[in-house]
């Protein structure tokens, strides 16, 4: 048994953070969660006697906020500032990669996905390539993404939870580990209650609360310490020369290659993440799909524009009050880095409830995203694998049961893996991005834009992607969970195919494999080709229509091959 030894080792403790139970912040966290539940309940899907009547439609701005809330996890809220604080310029790969991803999504995928009109990522892959095998691989990938992504969230919740609830000291576990178990229990509980509630309205509210908590924290930290006045996002620039070479001399401490690899992985990962893509399936028209991406990008930018400033303030305060920041002089641990946002507010002597608000925002972001990921993962198991492949006769109640069991399974394995996490939040999350980028992104991109992509091509491509993703994971991440092994197994492999950016190597290879295999095997049937053409045909399509409807109703004349 290797897990228990690993468990005993981990006592992540952010130095400088005030670890004790605090009433006001605890009330804020619970109040936020209750508010989310209440809003979900008020806007829940009512019993409808007649389903064919049209209800409300989701507008651009609202859907944009939902995209923002879905997106803003502990990785954006805590991890991004953490990486910038710890590695300076390297951390900007996250800001750049995550925003660029949305442009690719906007240009190449949002409207086209809406046209295809399926429910989930595995649904798309299964139907486009007409293969249960492809569907199963996509479903397993979705489940894996949920798992890997959630480890980072659990780490964030555990660390920030320490500030709010202190060391609750579950027997046999360190303070951090107890908090991970406690927070994951709350998350799964929240999910059980919120699962049946409508999502979009609630996410819009979540977004507003999170961004307000983050921005207020930033403004007041900057103002009270005299760093900035009205625009900390720009004013922090004056600090840069004092912060150390990590900020002022890019690529001194981290080579170009890892920056590019990370950034690329994050770009393609964004376009392949199931819980991001899902927001495009349900909107009323392709126009709404496009505009909500634009709004989503704007709402995300509000946070991303501010994170570097928060990191800079935090780093400076840490250097003054706690100790040396960078590794050369002892340095800040990754645990302290991961809570730099909360730490900055605390070190700036803001009132406790205000620091609590910033911390609560981080926890709420983590819980909301984990909930979304777990639902995507459980739907992959219950809808795509169980109902579509194992038991096509499954009743609705059996699906519910399988769905709930998979959520619990996800909760348990995530908690175990997060007890002794291998890396900081942002890096953990990037592993999931590499996976999404290596396996799902090429399938969406080629499937949507190249009509000759066929079933053997897709199967070969996805298997290649999974393999290339797994190798660096075993090389770099697995040793962390094995007692007595110092990772990585191969230093050269870790340099050229880093787990954090393996999509840079994987994506071109997967594209090549998929294209070559598709070319040497039989072309897909004419109907599939016509659906693909319809997905990006210049002709506008009516609302509530899918490419399949158009192809089914317009008889034999295919749209011009573009």
């Amino acid at each position: 048994m290797t897990v228990p030894t690993a468990v005993l080792q981990s006592g992540l403790l952010p130095e400088g953070l005030n670890v004790s139970f605090k009433l006001a912040p605890a009330i804020i966290v619970l109040g936020m969660l209750l508010l989310f539940l209440a809003i979900g309940f008020v806007f829940r899907v009512a019993d409808t006697e007649n389903m064919w009547v049209a209800g409300r439609s989701i507008g651009n701005v609202e859907n944009g906020m939902a995209i923002g809330a879905n997106w803003m996890s502990a990785a954006s809220y805590l991890g991004m500032a953490a990486l910038i604080a710890l590695s300076g310029f390297y951390g900007l790969a996250f800001v750049v990669g995550w925003t660029t991803g949305y442009f690719i999504l906007l240009i190449f995928m949002a409207a086209q996905l809406r046209r295809f009109g399926k429910y989930t990522a595995p649904d798309f892959v299964g139907d486009r390539f007409n293969s249960d095998g492809a569907r199963a691989i996509a479903a397993i990938t979705t489940f894996l993404i949920g798992f890997v992504y959630a480890i980072g969230q659990a780490r964030g919740m555990g660390l920030v939870g320490l500030y709010i609830f202190g060391d609750i000291g579950l027997p046999g576990l360190s303070g951090y580990q107890s908090m991970v178990v406690f927070m994951m229990a709350i998350t799964v509980g929240y999910l059980t209650i919120s699962g049946m509630l409508g999502a979009t309205k609630n996410m819009a509210v979540q977004y507003v609360i999170l961004i307000v908590a983050f921005l207020i924290g930033l403004f007041l930290t900057g103002l009270s310490q005299g760093y900035s006045t009205v625009l900390p996002q720009l004013e922090y620039g004056m600090l840069i020369s004092e912060l150390g070479s990590e900020f002022s001399e890019p690529f001194v401490n981290q080579p170009y290659y890892i920056w590019i690899a990370t950034c690329f992985s994050l770009v393609v990962g964004t376009c392949g993440l199931p819980h991001v893509l899902v927001r495009f399936y349900t909107v009323e028209s392709e126009r709404t799909a496009r505009w909500s991406t634009v709004w989503g990008l704007f709402f995300i930018c509000l946070l991303y524009w501010s994170a570097p400033a928060f990191a800079a303030f935090g780093t400076d305060l840490y250097g003054e009050q706690v100790g040396a920041v960078y590794a050369a002089e002892g340095g800040m641990t990754s645990a302290a880095g991961d809570v730099i946002v909360v730490l900055a507010a605390q070190l700036a002597n803001l009132p406790q409830w205000l620091v609590g608000l910033v911390a609560a925002g981080g926890i709420a972001a983590a819980i909301a995203t984990t909930a979304g990921l777990f639902i995507a993962g459980s739907s992959a198991i219950s809808h795509d694998i169980y109902t579509n492949i194992i038991n096509p006769e499954a009743t609705q109640r059996q699906q519910v049961l399988v769905g709930r069991l998979s959520i619990i399974a996800l909760g348990v394995i995530t908690t175990l893996a997060a007890l002794d996490p291998a890396a900081p939040i942002a890096a953990l999350v990037s592993y999931a991005f590499s996976l999404a980028g290596a396996v799902l992104f090429p399938m969406f991109f080629l499937g949507m834009w190249w009509e000759n992509t066929n079933r053997p091509g897709a199967l070969a491509g996805m298997m290649t992607g999974l393999t290339i993703w797994t190798i660096p994971m075993i090389n770099e991440v697995l040793p962390n969970y094995l007692g007595g092994v110092e990772g990585p197994f191969s230093a050269a492999l870790a340099t050229w195919v880093p787990a954090i950016g393996s999509a840079l190597i994987a994506v071109p290879i997967v594209f090549a494999v998929t294209i070559v295999v598709s070319l040497v095997t039989e072309e897909p049937d004419v109907e599939t080709k016509r659906i693909v053409r319809q997905c990006h045909s210049p002709e506008p399509m009516g609302q509530h229509r899918t490419a399949e409807d158009v192809v089914a109703t317009d008889g034999g004349d295919a749209p011009a091959d573009d």
Partner: protein, 150 residues
């Protein structure tokens, strides 16, 4: 005695066990037979994600082919058998929590009798999978005929 009989169905074999009983009663009493399929929103949210609940809320059922096929397939089975025997049939598809939708439907349409199948599960399986029939029995005061599958 019975003018309107309601048979909720989820398309499962168990539910169809009850169909014969309902048809016979409807024929005997010359009653109108309502067949109702309830799309369980809880299962939608867990198996397809809350985004699908939004889609329901927007009334975009038309594009959810799979769900629609399932629902209409289930009521069609009952309707076809009923029409063969000259019984007047009303088909309906609704969404929500099954037992409360069944109860509401029965009350809104002055149904005199509800006929339902039951899996006859017990112990852990009953606790896990629950029983729509059991909940309906508890929540409505309209007579319910339960046909046990065993």
């Amino acid at each position: 005695m019975y003018e309107k009989i309601l048979i909720p169905t989820d398309g499962s074999d168990t539910a169809e066990m009850a169909v014969e009983h309902a048809l016979d009663l409807a024929e005997t009493y010359g009653a109108e037979l309502h067949t109702l399929y309830v799309v369980d929103t809880d299962s939608m949210s867990l198996s397809l994600g809350p985004e699908q609940l939004d889609r329901i809320e927007q009334g975009n059922w038309g594009e959810m082919d799979e769900v629609r096929e399932r629902a209409e397939g289930a009521t069609r089975v009952v309707a076809d058998r009923g029409r063969d025997r000259g019984i007047e049939i009303v088909e309906h598809v609704a969404s929500g929590r099954p037992h409360s939708v069944i109860e509401e439907y029965a009350e809104d349409h002055d149904v005199d009798l509800v006929v339902m199948g039951s899996h006859g599960r017990s112990g852990i399986r009953r606790a896990l999978l629950g029983s729509v029939t059991e909940r309906t029995l508890r929540s409505t005061d309209i007579p319910v005929l339960v046909v046990d599958a065993r």
